[in-house]
C-alpha cells in the first residue's frame, strides 16, 4: 500500500471512530455536563422569593452572586451529619450486598452451563416489576402486623426483651437499600467469576491448598475487578437514593437524597439544594476514583 493510501485508511478509521462514539458523547455532554454546570452556577446564586433563582443581576445592575450557600453547609453541622449518615448507610449496604451476592454469583458461575442463563434471569427478574411497588411491598413485610415482625418479637419476648419496631427504622432503610441494589452486585461478580479457568482451582488443590485457601488465594483475588465494579455500582446510587428512605425510613433516617429533594421541592431553596448536590457528586466521584485506583492490577511478588 502506498503512503497516501495508508493515510486515507487512517482518516477513514478515525472518522468511523468519531461516528460511533459521537452520539453517546453528545448525549453525555447535553444531559450530564451541561446540567452539572448549571447546578454549579445555581449554587452561587440567591434563591428567588417564590422558589427558583433570583436574577443574576440586581436592579442596580450589579452581579448578584454569593458563597453563602456553601458557608451554610459548612457552618450547620446537621447537613454534614446527614451526609455522613448517608455514607454509612451506603457503606453498610455495599458490604451486605457483597456478602450476599458473592456466594450467589459463585454458585451460579459454577453451576452447569445450561442453567446459568436461567439463574441470571432469576436474579434480574425483580426488574420486571416497578421499583416503587417492590419497595412498598417491604412496608407490608416489615410492618407491625407482619408475620416477620411478630415472629421477631415473639423470640425477643422469650428472652425478655421489649418488642421492637422494624418498619420506619434505619434497619428497614438498609434492608430496602440492600434489596434494591443486590442485582447490581451479583451481575458484575458473576461476569467475572464465570470467566475463571477452573483449572486454576484444580491446580491450587493439586498443590496442597485447602478449600478455604483455594478461595482466599485464587478465586477471591482474581475476582477483585468484579468486586470493585459491583461495589461502585451499589455504593454510588445507594449514596444518593431518596425513594427507599422516603418509603421505609422514619423521621430519623433521612438520607442526603431526601434533603436535596426537600430543598428543591418543599423548601424551594434551589441554590442550597445545588450545594448539597455538588457535595454528593464529588463524594461519588471520589468513591469511583478510589475504586479505579484500588482495582489497578498490583504486582504480587510473594503471594
Amino acid at each position: 500500500m502506498s503512503k497516501a493510501a495508508i493515510n486515507d485508511a487512517d482518516k477513514r478509521g478515525r472518522l468511523a471512530r468519531w461516528l460511533i462514539s459521537g452520539p453517546p458523547l453528545f448525549y453525555l455532554l447535553l444531559f450530564f455536563a451541561i446540567p452539572s454546570l448549571i447546578m454549579v452556577f445555581a449554587s452561587v446564586r440567591y434563591a428567588g422569593d417564590y422558589g427558583g433563582l433570583a436574577p443574576v443581576f440586581d436592579e442596580a445592575g450589579k452581579l448578584n452572586l454569593t458563597l453563602e450557600n456553601f458557608q451554610r453547609f459548612t457552618s450547620d453541622f446537621i447537613y454534614t451529619a446527614i451526609f455522613l449518615k448517608s455514607l454509612m448507610y451506603a457503606v453498610i449496604t455495599t458490604c451486605c450486598c457483597l456478602l450476599m451476592a458473592y456466594p450467589l454469583a459463585l454458585l451460579i458461575a459454577r453451576s452447569p452451563k445450561k442453567y446459568r442463563d436461567l439463574l441470571i434471569l432469576l436474579v434480574i427478574l425483580p426488574f420486571w416489576s416497578n421499583f416503587l411497588i417492590r419497595v412498598y411491598a417491604w412496608m407490608i413485610i416489615l410492618g407491625p402486623q407482619s408475620g416477620l415482625t411478630q415472629a421477631v418479637n415473639y423470640v425477643l419476648g422469650l428472652v425478655g426483651i421489649e418488642p421492637v419496631r422494624l418498619l420506619f427504622t434505619a434497619f428497614s432503610v438498609i434492608v430496602g437499600l440492600v434489596y434494591v441494589h443486590l442485582p447490581f452486585m451479583v451481575l458484575p461478580l458473576y461476569a467475572n467469576l464465570e470467566k475463571h479457568d477452573p483449572a486454576l482451582v484444580d491446580a491450587a488443590q493439586d498443590l496442597g491448598a485447602s478449600a478455604w485457601q483455594r478461595f482466599w488465594r485464587i478465586t477471591f483475588p482474581l475476582s477483585l475487578p468484579g468486586v470493585y465494579a459491583g461495589a461502585a455500582l451499589v455504593f454510588i446510587p445507594a449514596l444518593g437514593i431518596f425513594a427507599v428512605s422516603d418509603i421505609l425510613g422514619g423521621t430519623g433516617s433521612d438520607m442526603i437524597g431526601n434533603v436535596i429533594k426537600q430543598q428543591f421541592l418543599e423548601t424551594r431553596d434551589w441554590p442550597f439544594g445545588s450545594v448539597l448536590s455538588i457535595v454528593l457528586t464529588v463524594a461519588a466521584l471520589i468513591a469511583a476514583g478510589i475504586a479505579v485506583l484500588v482495582a489497578r492490577p498490583r504486582r504480587e511478588t510473594h503471594g
Binding site: 479457568d197 483449572a199 486454576l200 484444580d202 491446580a203 491450587a204 488443590q205 493439586d206 498443590l207 496442597g208 491448598a209 485447602s210 485457601q213 488465594r217 485464587i218 483475588p221 482474581l222 492490577p297 504486582r299 504480587e300 511478588t301 510473594h302 503471594g303
Partner: protein, 361 residues
C-alpha cells in the same frame, strides 16, 4: 514393590466405560507414558491418580498405601496441567512458592527452594515476571518447576507440550528427559502424540477404549505391536489382512486378497488357515524403478498413485496390480535429486520376509 500400583481400576460415565478394569504398575524413577487417542481413558486415569476423580472400583496404591479416599491436596502427587494453569495474579516466584506455602515451609527455606527450582528449569532472573510476560516455553517450565518444588513422589504431566509449536516442542522434550534424570522423580506422562511418547518414555502403555492394549518399551511397541490398533496408532503402518496359506520352517506364505502371496516370518503357533494381519512399516519397503538384485523375497508391481514430499523423505502411495495400496517411504538422500518418482510412474516395491510383524485376528 512398584511405586504406583493400579489394580483393577474402572471408571464409568453412564454406560460408557472410560477406564475398564486397568491394572498396571509404575516403578520408581520411571518415565512412564499413557498414550492413546482422545477418549481412550488416559486423562481419566491421570485424574484418578491425581485425585480429581475417583474410581468406581479398584485400588490405586502409592508406596503400598491406597490413595482412594485422600483428596488431591493430601496426595504426594503433583500435576502439570495442559494449559499450565499458572496463577495469573502471582509472579513466577509466587507461583513456585505456592505449594511450599501451603505446606507451611518457613519463609527463608521457601526463598532458597524457589531459587533452586528456577535454576533447575533455567529461569533464573525471571522470578519477578508475571505469567503473561512469559513465552509458551517459559510458562511450561514454570509449571514444571511449581509441580516439582514440593518434591512429590509422582509428577503427572497432562499433554504439557501440546500448546507449543513443533520446534519448541522438540527442545522441551529434551529438557524434560534431562530434568527427569536430574530430579529423579517418577513421571507419568499423558499424550496422544506417538512421536512424543516414543521419544520420552522408558515404558509406554498404549490405551484404547478404556483398556491398555500394550505396555512395553518404545522400540518394542514400534517394532512389535501386539494388536492391530497399536500397529495403526503408532506411526504409519501397512496393514495387510490375510490367511496363512502354508508354513515352511522359518517362513510362511500369507494369502492376502488383492495382493497375492506374501512371504513372511512365522509367528508362534502358526497353522494353515489362521487369519490375521501383517503389519508392515513404510520404511521397511524398498521402492525402485525395476526389480533390483537385492535379496527381498516379496516383489510387487504397481504405480505411484499419490506422493507426499516431506523434504527429508517422500511418502509414496503405490497401487499394486491387485488393487491394494501400499505406503512406502524413501529418503531423499541421493545426491543431485529432489525425489525419485512422480505420480503415475510404474515401480517395483519389495520387502524382506521378516520385515513385517504378523498379528492374529
Amino acid at each position: 514393590m512398584a511405586l504406583l500400583e493400579i489394580r483393577n481400576v474402572s471408571r464409568r460415565f453412564g454406560d460408557f466405560a472410560a477406564v475398564d478394569n486397568i491394572s498396571l504398575s509404575i516403578e520408581a524413577g520411571e518415565f512412564f507414558t499413557l498414550l492413546g487417542p482422545s477418549g481412550c481413558g488416559k486423562t481419566t486415569l491421570l485424574r484418578m491418580i491425581a485425585g480429581f476423580d475417583l474410581p468406581d472400583s479398584g485400588q490405586i496404591l502409592l508406596d503400598g498405601v491406597d490413595l482412594v479416599g485422600s483428596p488431591p491436596e493430601h496426595r504426594p502427587v503433583c500435576t502439570v496441567f495442559q494449559n499450565y494453569a499458572l496463577f495469573p495474579h502471582m509472579t513466577v516466584s509466587a507461583n513456585i512458592a505456592f505449594p511450599l506455602k501451603m505446606a507451611k515451609v518457613p519463609a527463608d527455606q521457601i526463598r532458597l527452594r524457589v531459587e533452586e527450582a528456577l535454576e533447575d528449569v533455567r529461569l533464573t532472573g525471571f522470578a519477578a515476571r508475571f505469567p503473561h510476560e512469559l513465552s509458551g516455553g517459559q510458562r511450561q517450565r514454570v509449571a514444571v518447576a511449581r509441580a516439582l518444588v514440593s518434591r512429590p513422589k509422582l509428577l503427572l504431566l497432562d499433554e504439557p507440550l501440546s500448546a507449543l509449536d513443533a520446534k519448541l516442542r522438540e527442545q522441551m522434550q529434551i529438557e524434560l528427559i534431562n530434568l527427569q534424570k536430574e530430579v529423579d522423580i517418577t513421571f507419568v506422562y499423558v499424550t496422544h502424540d506417538q512421536g512424543e511418547a516414543l521419544a520420552l518414555s522408558h515404558r509406554i502403555a498404549v490405551m484404547n477404549r478404556g483398556n491398555v492394549e500394550q505396555l512395553d518399551e518404545p522400540s518394542r511397541i514400534y517394532s512389535y505391536p501386539r494388536t492391530r490398533f497399536v500397529a495403526d496408532f503408532i506411526g504409519t503402518c501397512n496393514l495387510l489382512d490375510g490367511a496363512i496359506a502354508s508354513v515352511d520352517g522359518a517362513a510362511m506364505q500369507l494369502d492376502v486378497p488383492g495382493l497375492g502371496l506374501v512371504k513372511s516370518a512365522v509367528p508362534p503357533n502358526a497353522a494353515v488357515g489362521l487369519k490375521g494381519t501383517l503389519a508392515l512399516r513404510p520404511e521397511k519397503i524398498h521402492i525402485s524403478a525395476e526389480i533390483g538384485t537385492d535379496t527381498a523375497e516379496n516383489h510387487f508391481k504397481g504405480f505411484v498413485k499419490e506422493l507426499l514430499y516431506l523434504g527429508d523423505v517422500t511418502v509414496y502411495i503405490v497401487q499394486t496390480e491387485g488393487g491394494t495400496t501400499i505406503e512406502a517411504l524413501l529418503a531423499n538422500s541421493a545426491a543431485g535429486r529432489a525425489k525419485f518418482f512422480e505420480v503415475g510412474d510404474m515401480v517395483d516395491i519389495a520387502w524382506q520376509f521378516d520385515a513385517g510383524h504378523f498379528l492374529y485376528e
